[in-house]
């Protein structure tokens, strides 16, 4: 038979067990399965690779990816190249966190449970809300679930979603809401690339809206008129749902300060690798009164039989394993380990670090933008931004040519906004984080100047 490092059974142990069971071969264990179903058994798959062969294969594949250290990148748009403290890796590689299941048995899961309780506290503090759950898959699904939640709470089935939400989030919302047939109204943006308030006001006239959803800073980098939108939402009896970049809270007030009812967001920025888009985690927090309408797991503090503080999953009657089709969501496994990375990150960064990171991003982004705007042909249409901004290419420089030229210089520019926003031709979304060193900014600027020489001035 087969010996394998993941399979401790030996031929002897297999035989011993077969004897006890009273069958003569391992194949016989499957005799309840109709034979005609067992015809097509052999799998067309690679042969078993030993670890060395796996390492070789992975190296082969790795060589087909770039070495990111060789490039300077200004890609953001929902996934960010950020400083990740090394402590996180060391902790996450501890098998006690890595290979534990969901903490169903609290007495032997206090590590995970307390870490989640602390996570929830941090998310509450970051969002200005009262209650957070233990995590969601990502920011987009968290937002979609927040809308479903808003419909449950308000018993309405329309939502207004700003067109300045991350387009991926908009797509996911559309998919999620197609199930229960909730109407999505997309609120247009104005010439400042923020949600158009006047239009929003009109859209809420009927007061049949469950929620208004905005993103701060919005996908185009700009800060929305949050207080006006809050008024429109609440006047219409809708919940005010705000998606945030958690790093931005180092500079911009948490949504709790301007009347949000539910806050969501993506936690990739908090200590999680980009990893080609996943996994990271989504977070969701809300006001106390909406707690029992939350989807997902929640950890609460309690006491053990000795009277000591102990943590446990709680409010489970919201969840699928108890309430089945009446649950607040189908979510079961969430993104706990990524949320743990987020907790450790926030512990390390601390209140001062968060402010400092936000300031670095803001200052470097604004410096870059102001320098770009000095270069002939390049335009920076807005300055109401945090760390991402729109740059408009010169007329005679196409996005394709621009990208190619930049990549040739080992610079990865931002995404092409025009594919999402037809009204923004030649628009690139530039993201600046603490990983973009000042010299990287100068590199970017001198590349632009070279392109001006070549494509604009000639």
């Amino acid at each position: 038979m087969i010996y394998h490092n993941y399979l401790p059974n030996t031929d002897e142990s297999r035989q011993k067990m077969l004897d006890i069971i009273g069958v003569s071969s391992q194949e016989d264990l499957f005799k309840n399965i109709p034979v005609e179903l067992q015809k097509n058994t052999s799998l067309v798959l690679p042969e078993s690779h030993c670890e060395l062969e796996i390492q070789n294969r992975i190296l082969e594949l790795a060589q087909k990816n770039i070495w990111p250290g060789g490039y300077v990148s200004f890609l953001g748009a929902g996934c960010y190249n950020r400083y990740i403290p090394s402590v996180i890796d060391n902790i996450l590689s501890r098998v006690e966190f890595l290979t534990a299941y969901t903490p169903y048995q609290p007495e032997i899961s206090q590590g995970t449970l307390q870490a989640i309780y602390e996570f929830q506290t941090m998310i509450c503090n970051l969002t200005g809300m009262d209650v957070s759950n233990a995590s969601m898959y990502d920011g987009a699904t968290a937002t979609a679930e927040a809308i479903l939640m808003s419909c449950r709470i308000t018993k309405k089935n329309k939502t207004i979603v700003s067109r300045a939400l991350n387009p991926e989030t908009q797509d996911v919302i559309k998919t999620y809401l197609s199930g229960p047939d909730i109407d999505i109204i997309t609120a247009p943006i104005n010439e400042d690339s923020i949600t158009d308030i006047n239009n929003l006001f009109e859209l809420t006239a009927n007061k049949d809206i469950a929620s208004i959803v905005i993103q701060v800073p919005n996908f185009l980098g700009n800060i929305e008129e949050v207080r006006k939108i809050e008024q429109i939402a609440h006047n219409a009896g809708a919940l005010f749902v705000v998606i945030i970049d958690p790093i931005s809270v180092g500079m911009i007030k948490p949504p709790g300060a301007y009347g949000a009812d539910i806050v969501t967001g993506d936690g990739q920025s908090l200590g999680n690798n980009m990893m080609y888009g996943g996994p990271a985690f989504g977070f969701m927090a809300c006001r106390q009164k909406h707690m029992r309408n939350m989807p997902g797991r929640i950890v609460g503090s309690s006491l053990d039989s000795d009277g000591n503080t102990a943590y446990t999953l709680t409010l489970q009657t919201r969840e699928q394993h108890i309430r089945r089709d009446k649950a607040t969501s189908n979510i079961c496994t969430n993104h706990s380990l990524c949320a743990l990375a987020g907790s450790i990150y926030l512990s390390i960064i601390g209140p001062k670090g968060l402010k400092e990171i936000a300031n670095i991003c803001f200052q470097r982004a604004h410096f870059l933008a102001s320098k770009i705007s000095e270069i002939e042909g390049f335009k920076i249409p807005h300055d109401n931004f945090f760390n991402e901004f729109i740059m408009i290419l010169p007329d005679n420089l196409s996005v394709d040519v621009f990208n190619k030229e930049m990549l040739d210089r080992k610079i990865i520019p931002g995404i092409n906004l025009n594919s999402y926003y037809h009204e923004l031709p030649g628009a690139i979304l530039i993201s600046v984080t603490e990983k973009n060193k000042p010299v990287d900014l100068y590199l970017f600027l001198s590349a632009l100047r070279e392109l001006v020489e070549e494509y604009v001035l000639n």
Partner: protein
């Protein structure tokens, strides 16, 4: 008791330092509405790096995990999570890739994902795969949206989905998220779907049945072909919850059983670590006639290079950001390579062997509600012990004192005092025999002195926890005094 990290905070202490901006600075209010600027500090811990390490090391030591001992948590397939899977995720060429990089920059990752799609199609006997869903439940949701889109495209209005009474809670919840009404079909005395009852439920408003096979009792649905016939005859689809795929790899394929859609739990069958509650991943595989409805993008190959295929007009759309839990998928990929075609079959054969062995040994002391061969797991009932004064929760707590994680308890709902035991193939015979001894000892303790047993656990970081208090007076975030 470990203080909260907030309680260890001391003003001014730093967990890390940060660089200067290094550029001329402007006043933030010159760009941003000053009333929105956050003057205050967010309440976060202020601690040294050492303190943070100590905190999380201390917390980690309060967890059970696979590397600490046996973890027969039924339905969860707590097999060994190989460490090579972890190392590959540390390579900068994988972990530091932005999802919007030009595809020419990430051909290695795309090739891996493309191959993995094919592996999963082969193992499940399906045709096309989406790697996007983030967990099993998310896969179910995605699959049921595909069902919905399929019938919408056909112009059929179907509003109901059937699930067995033994189904996992996510099945009805996921169908419900897609707007379906749930019909429950009873199990018969063999622990399988009652065919007659099923036939009564099926009509042209039924969109699908969601099954796992082997089912949550660890029993193979022998009438699966009949079930498929009934459903398909009624124009409905069959959805396969892949939570139990570990029982049948290389033995039988869901596609051959008649299923139209399958999801896979990589964090069960394919050895990706559970992380204390995720991230997992729940790829969805479908038959050809459903492939047009898969979420976008899928990974495709044009003969020269790999690309993200968005051009799928009937797609249900996107079910999450980007392309999937790539970090988890890398691990699943290396696992499939590690086992290979024969190894995966041996995985299932050993998983089933270990389970049957335990079942044979344990049924003498604990009530076995359904006799016969089981698959990779089986369900005992603690009803004998309950009569003696200790319910299944009590048994579970006592097991902890022996360094063993209790089985899944009180699920499936159709078995009173259920203990769902899944040893997995990565446990040795010594571990199984040790478990048998412990279970026999606990049975004996209950016979002799049930009150004593009810005081368990003794050797755990905390004692039995008051769950009622937690729910009655919810305290879900720390507030500084």
């Amino acid at each position: 008791m470990t203080k909260l990290i907030f309680e260890k905070s001391e003003q001014g202490r730093r967990g890390c330092l940060l660089p200067e901006a290094g550029v001329p600075e402007i006043d933030p209010d010159s760009a941003i509405d000053s009333s929105l600027l956050n003057e205050e500090e967010i309440c976060l811990p202020e601690t040294s790096e050492l303190e943070i390490m100590r905190h999380y090391v201390e917390l980690s030591n309060k967890n059970h995990c696979i590397e600490k001992g046996f973890y027969p948590l039924g339905s969860c397939t707590m097999k060994y999570n190989p460490k090579v899977n972890e190392s590959i995720c540390q390579l900068p060429r994988f972990k530091d890739l932005h999802p919007y990089l030009p595809v020419t920059f990430v051909q290695g990752t795309l090739e891996l994902m493309y191959e993995l799609q094919n592996f999963f199609a082969e193992i499940t006997g399906m045709d096309k795969v989406s790697l996007q869903p983030a967990a099993g439940s998310h896969g179910e949701f995605t699959g049921m949206l595909i069902v919905k889109a399929y019938f919408k495209n056909k112009g059929e209005e179907r509003t109901k989905v059937i699930v067995p009474d033994s189904a996992h809670g996510t099945n009805p919840a996921s169908a419900k998220m897609c707007g379906y009404e749930i019909l429950e079909v009873k199990s018969n005395d063999k622990g399988q779907v009652d065919i007659e009852k099923l036939e009564e439920l099926v009509d042209d408003k039924v969109a699908a049945i969601m099954l796992t096979n082997p089912n949550t009792l660890g029993i193979f649905e022998e009438n699966i072909q009949k079930i498929a016939e009934i459903m398909h005859k009624a124009g409905a689809l069959l959805y396969y919850d892949g939570a139990n795929l570990n029982a049948i790899m290389g033995i039988v394929k869901p596609g051959d059983m008649g299923f139209d859609i399958v999801h896979i739990n990589t964090h069960k069958t394919f050895s990706t670590p559970h992380g204390g509650g995720g991230p997992g991943s729940g790829p969805v595989a479908v038959k050809d006639y459903l492939s047009d409805f898969l979420p976008v993008p899928t990974i495709d190959f044009d003969g020269e290079s790999f690309f993200l295929k968005y051009d799928t007009p009937l797609t249900i759309g996107k079910v999450r950001s980007f392309y999937g839990n790539v970090g988890v998928l890398l691990r699943a990929y290396t696992y499939v390579l590690a086992m290979g075609k024969n190894g995966l079959k041996q995985v299932s054969m050993d998983a089933v062997l270990n389970a049957n062995y335990l079942k044979e040994k344990l049924k003498t002391k604990f009530f076995l509600p359904y006799e016969g061969l089981c698959m990779h797991e089986f369900v005992l009932s603690g009803k004998i012990q309950k009569e003696q004064g200790v319910n299944t929760l009590g048994i579970a707590k006592r097991m902890m004192d022996f360094g063993i994680h209790p089985p899944t308890i009180y699920f499936p709902l159709i078995v009173p005092e259920a203990m769902m035991i899944e040893p997995t193939e990565t446990e040795s015979n010594e571990i199984l025999d040790n478990f048998i001894e412990i279970m026999e000892q606990i049975a004996k303790e209950i016979e002799e002195n049930p009150e004593e047993v009810l005081k368990s656990p003794h050797n755990t970081p905390v004692k039995k926890i008051d769950e009622v208090l937690a729910a009655k007076k919810p305290n879900v975030a720390y507030k500084k005094q």
